[in-house]
Amino acid sequence: MLDEELSSKVINQEHYATEIAQQYTKFLSQYPEIFSDLDEGSVFDFALYETLESYDKGSNMDVFHVLRSQNGIEIKAGNAKGADLELSLSVRAVEKLIKTQNKEEYAQLLGSFYNDPEEENGWIDFTLHKRTQVLIDMGYGRFAQTAGILEDDDKIYRI
């Protein structure tokens, strides 16, 4: 499928607990192509955390999920049933991410929050609910690269 053909739908906007989650879903809906590497039916949670401590305790302040549908993505409030994984983000990271101007800038910043996380300035992490090999087969490895989370080896070590 060509990137241009993907559509996005944000469902039950009023169900979000926080404004920042609403803003983030709107932001993500601009770039459905970020999710194009995922198999249809892939679904995962985006959970927002106030602090690292609340993340350690598993106490998020808001959560929504993204479903890769046939023609694009659907974003819905709440946890997904049988989510493949949880992408956990600090609120500070989300505040910065929604200010990015294009998907390349977004991916770069998202990657930096994963690879160089800082409690104060922003961080992301993810918890796999399915086995790595299953998720690789569903396209999550490629997705993580497109989304800036998995770095290219060239960037990690360059002489």
């Binding site: 790595t132 090999q133 080896d153 070590y157």
Partner: protein, 497 residues
């Protein structure tokens, strides 16, 4: 009771004291072994995926403490800060996705010729493992040893190098802080190998000895084991019976990797990768490209390009993010480089670049210039007579280069070695590629690959003197034994009831 000792860990670049750590005594070591052994029961109550999730969580903690860990790696290890990024990435990626290793230890049913499925192959952890780690990787290898054992359900005692134990201690403290489940079955030993290895060998609680060391040190461990076994001999039955049971030995040893450059590749690109593959971490890597073999038709052009790349390498203060080459880990390495270059000179070799040392006269701030030495192909033929630089691992920034007449010659030269960890080849010809895959004598073959990959599929292991037992390997696979289970109940229930 032995007196507890303290180790002073000094900065490898400027000699400043980084920290002081209490060292173990034989008594504290034995206590740690007993405690870890006893607490393996905790690991047995957890399943593989529970332990994998915990390691994955710990990987996130490592990322959050990246700066502190990198600073320690640089200070105590002398590794350039840009390399410390890779050193951490390889282990945090491995831990984050460690359930990937399940494929190697997943229970397998077997089908008989008659079509019955009565047999299962199960994978069972061996038991407590004693792990000895090298000086050149302050965190990736000791932590990988610890993590791999934990993942499969073995307790582990890890002995990081006494030259650089701080990073691993810091990581262990992080595990304590996060109340890492089952940590009671894992511990660190800060002690010199001279006596710690004997304690490991003597202990009946230790089932596995895994080391990452030179091939000669690994053989020395076997000799020491033989002496210990000999002391346990019982002749009361008229024959020699040894009272100590077998241990499992897993040795990751030296590499003397060949890197072949054929005449059908982009020489500029390959020369860049070659410099990275050969001189990263001052060449103090087992999998570094150490013997460079170049097709004669492009030899002179390639040498010119490679020297340009080598000359770009900056050595000095490892905290400087532009520095490629940090100080050597010890005076012994500096001496080895001098001995190898001086020995090569006796054969009338040509030194294209480097060949000089920077010696502060102390145990820190020691450098050897990135060096490239031409060894004529006829000198590589007989390993008994070849220069040290060709036949032994140069664990520092000195590399040999030689000329191959053709594909056959390149393969022959590459295989002219007592080692077989990795072999690397660059060519755009499909027939060459197949020949390299099939004929290069190494456990890991890399064709047209960039160096310093962090891909989870990257394996350890080797053949010849590079590893024991031989073959490419993933630790979780080695740390378990295969159990054959034939369950004839469905066939014979009525007969045995």
């Amino acid at each position: 009771m032995s007196k507890p000792n303290e180790l002073q860990i000094k900065n490898k670049y400027n000699g400043e004291l980084v920290d002081t750590v209490p060292a173990d005594t034989p008594e504290t070591l034995r206590d740690k072994i007993k405690i870890a052994h006893k607490n393996q029961e905790i690991l047995k109550k957890m399943d593989f995926f529970e332990r994998a999730q915990i390691l994955s969580k710990f990987a996130a903690k490592l990322r959050f403490k990246k700066k502190e860990l990198k600073d320690l790696i640089v200070a105590e290890g002398g590794l350039p800060i840009k390399y410390s990024e890779w050193e951490l990435a390889i282990v945090s990626t491995g831990f984050k996705f460690c359930d990937w290793y399940y494929q190697f230890i997943k229970e397998k049913p077997l089908t008989s010729i008659e079509g019955e499925q009565l047999v299962n192959l199960k994978y069972i952890p061996h038991g407590l493992s004693a792990c000895i780690s090298p000086r050149n990787t302050p965190i990736s290898l000791p932590l990988y040893q610890l993590g791999a054992n934990y993942l499969v359900g073995n307790g582990a005692i890890v002995k990081p190098s006494t030259a650089c134990p701080l990073t691993m201690r810091y990581a262990y403290k992080m595990m304590e802080d996060m109340e890492f489940p089952g940590l009671e079955a894992l511990n660190l030993i800060i002690a010199p190998g001279e006596w710690a290895v004997d304690e490991f060998l003597k202990s009946h609680l230790i089932k596995i000895i895994m080391t990452i060391t030179s091939s000669h040190t690994a053989k020395d461990i076997l000799v020491r084991y033989g002496k210990i076994l000999k002391k346990t001999v019982d002749k009361s039955m008229g024959v020699s019976m040894y009272t100590q049971p077998f241990k499992q030995f897993f040795f990751e040893c030296a590499g003397n990797d060949a890197g072949i450059v054929m005449d059908d590749v982009n020489l500029e690109q390959v020369a860049k990768w070659n410099a990275m593959a050969s001189y990263t971490n001052s060449g103090q890597q087992c999998f570094s490209m150490k013997r460079i073999i170049v097709h004669r038709d492009i030899y002179d052009d390639y040498i010119e390009l490679l020297i340009k790349e080598i000359d770009k390498l900056k050595y000095g203060d490892p905290t400087d993010p532009t520095v490629d080459i940090g100080p050597l880990g010890s005076r012994k390495i500096l001496m080895m480089m001098e001995v190898m270059v001086n020995d090569a000179k006796k054969y009338g070799v040509k030194i294209y670049t480097g060949g000089e040392k920077i010696d502060t006269g102390q145990d820190y701030g020691l450098f050897y210039e990135p060096t490239l030495v031409e060894i004529r192909p006829e000198l590589c033929e007989d390993l008994g007579k070849a220069p040290f630089l060709w036949r032994e691992e140069a664990f520092g920034p000195v590399r040999s280069i030689t000329k191959a007449n053709d594909l056959n010659d390149a393969i022959r030269l590459a295989n002219a070695s007592n080692y077989g960890m990795r072999a690397v080849a660059y060519t755009s010809n499909q027939e060459n590629i197949e020949r390299f895959k099939n004929e290069l004598e190494a456990a890991n073959i890399y064709i047209n690959a960039r160096p310093m990959l962090t891909d989870i599929t990257v394996a350890l292991g080797g053949i010849k003197d590079s590893a024991y037992p031989a073959g490419c390997k993933y630790y979780p696979q080695e740390l378990v034994y295969q159990k054959y289970i034939y369950d004839g109940t469905s066939l014979n229930f009525d007969k045995i009831k």
